[in-house]
């Protein structure tokens, strides 16, 4: 068991390390590198590897709200509208069930 302050000091160091490491590594990649499109794919795959498993851990109704939220965002490209729909849906679920 550790004290909360140990976590609060460790996490910023970990996050800062990931940010610095990426910038340092970019010194070895040219701006017009032929591998640029692959580099852009990598963060998407890393993010999806966290999002997909966690999304599947929700209840079916929560997953349905999530799908609606993402579809609205995809179609409108408006994060505020989709957020209102998504959070409204989650709150509605809470009070209806």
């Amino acid at each position: 068991m550790v004290e909360p302050w140990v976590i609060l000091i460790s996490l910023p160091i970990v996050v800062y390390f990931t940010r610095v490491f990426g910038i340092l590594m970019s010194n070895f990649v040219a701006e017009d590198s032929p591998y640029r499109s692959t580099l852009i794919i990598l963060p998407i795959c890393a993010m999806a590897s966290f999002f997909i498993p966690r999304a599947l851990e929700g209840s079916p109704s929560e997953q349905a709200v999530l799908v609606v939220f993402l579809v609205v965002f995809w179609l409108t490209n408006n994060s505020m509208i989709s957020m209102i729909v998504g959070l409204g849906g989650l709150l509605a679920l809470q009070f209806l069930t």
């Binding site: 068991m1 550790v2 909360p4 976590i7 609060l8 460790s10 996490l11 910023p12 970990v14 996050v15 800062y16 990931t18 940010r19 610095v20 490491f21 990426g22 910038i23 340092l24 590594m25 970019s26 040219a30 032929p34 640029r36 499109s37 692959t38 580099l39 852009i40 794919i41 990598l42 963060p43 998407i44 795959c45 890393a46 993010m47 999806a48 590897s49 966290f50 999002f51 997909i52 498993p53 966690r54 999304a55 599947l56 929700g58 709200v65 999530l66 939220f69 993402l70 965002f73 490209n77 994060s79 505020m80 957020m83 998504g86 959070l87 989650l90 709150l91 679920l93 809470q94 009070f95």
Partner: protein, 231 residues
């Protein structure tokens, strides 16, 4: 228009959305038993929404140090890839400025930075976005902590899934910035799904997804280049 100001203005909509999720984070943090200083420190110094929400799920009387730190590293390891793809924007800046400004480099800075290729001073543009998102995120958390007491537990329970929604929003933003769904992303998503259903651990899922996405994209690029040379 000054590129710094332009970045700040371009990111207003997404920053406001981030602020709402930060408010939910602040309220959820108080409900989980974090003090004002602990919740604010997470937002002000960690400043990584997805990692903060995940940390919150593990916060309790006994804190699993290794699990929290490793999870945080895995979730924020996308910063490494983002830095690789957009790091050229930081070139030519004084060292102190470069390494202090990346403290607040975030997903929204990356997405808008990648999307807006016509910007002349990309570093200023990214800094404008980063600072705006940071201010909104910290203020949002502060508001969340303040209103936490007045929120019913049922509302907080209902919004527990909002952290995953935020992850989904960021993932969709990244996909949109890369001209929509491409075959490598779909293949990576399928591999992630299969590994998850096979009960693989988080590290394996991430390595599997990233490897398949990168390999299939390289293969497609190679074939397209070959076709261009032949045709």
């Amino acid at each position: 228009m000054n590129d710094f100001r332009r970045g700040a203005i371009d990111s207003l909509g997404l920053s406001a959305t981030a602020a709402v999720f930060a408010t939910i984070f602040g309220a959820a943090a108080v409900a989980k038993g974090l003090s004002f200083v602990e919740a604010m420190s997470l937002s002000a110094f960690v400043f990584a929404g997805s990692a903060q929400f995940t940390t919150l799920t593990m916060w309790g009387d006994t804190l699993p140090f290794a699990t929290i730190v490793v999870s945080c590293f895995l979730i924020t390891s996308r910063n490494i890839f983002m830095g690789l793809a957009l790091g050229h924007a930081f070139r030519g800046q004084p060292v102190w400025r470069k390494y202090t400004s990346i403290i607040i480099f975030n997903d929204i800075s990356y997405v808008l930075g990648i999307k807006n290729n016509q910007i002349k001073h990309k570093y200023a543009y990214i800094s404008g976005i980063s600072l705006t998102v940071y201010c909104f995120w910290v203020i949002g958390t502060f508001v969340g902590i303040l209103i936490a007491e007045s929120l019913q537990q049922s509302i907080l329970d209902g919004l527990a899934y909002a952290g995953i929604m935020y992850l989904g929003l960021l993932t969709t933003l990244l996909i949109r910035a890369d001209d929509g769904f491409k075959l490598p992303i779909i293949l990576a998503a399928m591999v992630i799904l299969v590994l998850y259903l096979a009960h693989a651990d988080q590290f394996t899922i991430m390595i599997g997804g990233v490897t398949v996405g990168a390999t299939s994209n390289l293969w497609l690029e190679f074939n397209q280049r070959k076709e261009r040379q032949n045709g």
